[in-house]
Symmetry: C2
Subunit: 440 residues, 2 copies
């Protein structure tokens, strides 16, 4: 069994099975943009539902927000993005390649030794124009992160929800960065989906909550099926920290292209609220009834990428196995995130009617798929490739004794189960773990 994932094989599988397509492919594509096909959408929906469940629904100290992507440009002045969110780039006059200046170690082109141009500044925020004219007064930006809206709406959320510090505001949604070099499939794209939490605390409780969220978020990746051995924590060195951050720990995953950030947990102090207080001239402080104190809360941020989590799940699940007579490609998704949970097959086509009825019944509870094409072995392989944990076969015995076989994707073992026992059987299998499971 091998999990040395070849990225090109994974990308080909994603296209073939419909997880991920190049955006606008029939027009030659658009660099840094991707579309999700049928199982990809469901995988994404499952991941985002489990994040929301863990971070919002199961907690009584976190509420949600869903803000507009286009916001008032002053938000990005207050946050520092207008002034600081850009890359300095140089071009090689000889080979025409382009480099980020902070990636260069010499004054000449690292590729061909040619002479480099003066540095030019490239804004990472996408610009657009709101209203009737492309005048500078109407310039707006596509948000480069979801977090700032949480700070800008802090007071509205506070007064409508009557939450008390410590509490959090969570948001998921699209963000956009005009990356010079989008790369590594959906790892770094120009349009992506974030899942962010800003958790507001008293200054003296920062350390405690920082530790809590690092552990909680690390555990979540195991709950959704990522192998512990491929995960690690990496604390930022002092010189790596953004100027506003006091501490930052990345949850990293070992991708086929190396250990990279999957999620960042940061102690942002009260930098952001303070900046919005200054720029908007509004009082965004918090009054604590018990202590009668008024203060600007500090914040612990957890910032995850939905597309990046999806890539991680795909890469972690991807296995090529040498069986006795053949090779099988299998996605070992955790049952709770699998886009198809139960496939239902009639052994032969003439058994289709009762199997269609069974599938319709199961569809009310699970994500199901009906297939009657080709041999059972071939149908199993197709489901292995899309990561379906269980396949049901209805055969000639089924109408007689009311049983079917259920085949397990990973062990490939088959058990015979009464049809009226399928719901309790699957309900247990598809349960979302309340605690992080031991490493598999």
């Amino acid at each position: 069994m091998s999990n040395e994932v070849n990225m090109n094989d994974l990308i080909a599988l994603c296209k073939r099975k419909g997880f991920i397509f190049q955006s606008s492919e029939i027009y030659g594509g658009l660099n840094g943009f991707w579309d999700l096909g049928p199982p990809g959408v469901v995988l994404k929906r499952n991941i985002s539902a489990l994040w929301w469940k863990d971070v919002v629904d199961l907690r009584d100290d976190v509420v949600g927000l869903d803000s507009a992507i286009i916001m008032h440009p002053d938000i990005w002045r207050a946050s520092g993005h207008v002034d600081h969110f850009h890359d300095q780039m140089v071009d090689c006059r000889k080979c025409k390649k382009r480099f980020r200046i902070d990636h260069l170690e010499t004054d000449h082109c690292p590729e061909c030794g040619g002479e480099l141009t003066e540095a030019r500044q490239f804004d990472l925020m996408f610009k657009t124009f709101v209203g009737v004219a492309e005048e500078s007064g109407s310039v707006a930006y596509l948000r480069p992160e979801t977090a700032q809206a949480i700070f800008a709406q802090f007071k509205n959320v506070l007064s409508s929800s009557r939450m008390k510090v410590p509490f959090g505001i969570a948001q998921m949604g699209k963000s956009f960065r005009n990356e010079i070099t989008p790369r590594n499939f959906i790892f770094r794209s120009r349009e992506f989906e974030q899942m962010e939490l800003e958790f507001f605390v008293r200054e003296e409780d920062r350390e405690k909550w920082f530790e809590f969220w690092v552990q909680d978020r690390f555990d979540w990746y195991m709950k959704i099926g990522i192998r512990k051995k491929k995960l690690r924590l990496r604390e930022h060195r002092k010189e790596e920290l953004a100027h506003y951050a006091r501490r930052c720990i990345d949850i990293e995953y070992e991708y086929p292209f190396g250990w990279k950030e999957l999620e960042g947990i940061a102690d942002r102090g009260n930098f952001d609220l303070t900046r919005h207080i200054e720029h908007a001239g509004k009082d965004l402080s918090y009054f604590e009834e018990q202590s009668k104190e008024k203060f600007v809360p500090h914040v612990i941020e957890t910032s995850a990428g939905l597309d990046r989590t999806m890539l991680t799940i795909l890469a972690d699940a991807y296995h090529v196995e040498e069986l006795e007579k053949e090779t099988r490609t299998v996605l070992r998704f955790a049952p709770a995130v699998a886009p198809v949970q139960v496939a239902v097959f009639p052994l032969v086509k003439k058994l289709a009617d009762p199997v269609r009825a069974l599938e319709r019944d199961l569809r009310r509870w699970y994500k199901t798929f009906y297939d009657d094409g080709g041999s059972i072995g071939r149908r199993h392989r197709r489901q292995d490739e899309v990561g379906t944990p269980y396949c049901i076969t209805y055969d000639f015995t089924s109408p007689e004794d009311g049983t079917v076989t259920v085949r397990d994707r990973d062990s490939m073992e088959q058990v015979r189960i009464a049809m009226d026992q399928l719901r309790p059987y699957f309900d247990e299998k598809f349960q979302y773990p309340e605690k992080s499971p031991a490493d598999a």
Copy 2:
């Protein structure tokens, strides 16, 4: 009981309870953009989950797509948006007001009789620039609809999913239109969320599927609790039809500002696929194995707005009632869409501990809210305003006999129920109706 909804009262309630805030409010707002606060996000999530369940999950002939918002600009050339998606506007030289030329009946200003300027063209698509320079070659647009991505990815979805005509591709997500005059709260905003289905059929089956989807979508609004008497169908007159549409029926709702479109169901022929075949030079036709025929499928489109549905639910649910001693404001949400499903109160604060435990337990199954502030009557009113269908009160009898009272939002009646019977009681209440219920 009154449901003559005053829009300003509804907008004030939405802000006070945290459903909807003006975007970027602390910076003076941004016209045509809105943010959803805590109960607003949950309401939106509930609506979108029920749309997806009805249109995708419970059907075996519809699959999902989730495409990028920024796509190759040639998609909008093929669709006709680059050439045709704009408004002709004139300004009054005297009072400076601006008008859409197709709304004018005279040559002079309808407000002050002043002289009008020459017409100017305003593009409705938001423009941005992808890559390193603001050159015309890098212009891209924020999608003004989700539908075109479905046509552009038709072949990829078809070959990866092996679906057979008739089948549909569904997508929900943000779209953007630079409206000159956004209005009516979230009814017409510049950034909004669509829920669209393109259902591909043989040409001769168009009429049948058109009728099916009109009825199916009409019924859905009743399933999510909208009153039938406020809904109607309106068929477009021939001169109203877009040039590509053969037929279009709007599902309309009677808003406080009049009967307006809530969703459109259109027979688009095979216009869109044909345009993409021409512009991309790719074969997007379908080969039917059974008949051995190759054809470009026709399409029935259902196009709904998520924000508009949310406004409809809010306006439909909003009631002001004169009780004996007071006036109560109540949102009569259907239980399946209510953002808070069960509120849990201790009669007095010293009973908090067991009630917190009860709330934590119920939270695994329902959207719950704990409140121990103020009189029980006041807590009921607060829940009425956010539309909570059931409030549980734990009193001094509860620890003795294991029962609590459950108060119904609409009848305001209270029943005493054993705590271990709450789950079956609520499970029945919160069930999503499989069939459209009779008009309430």
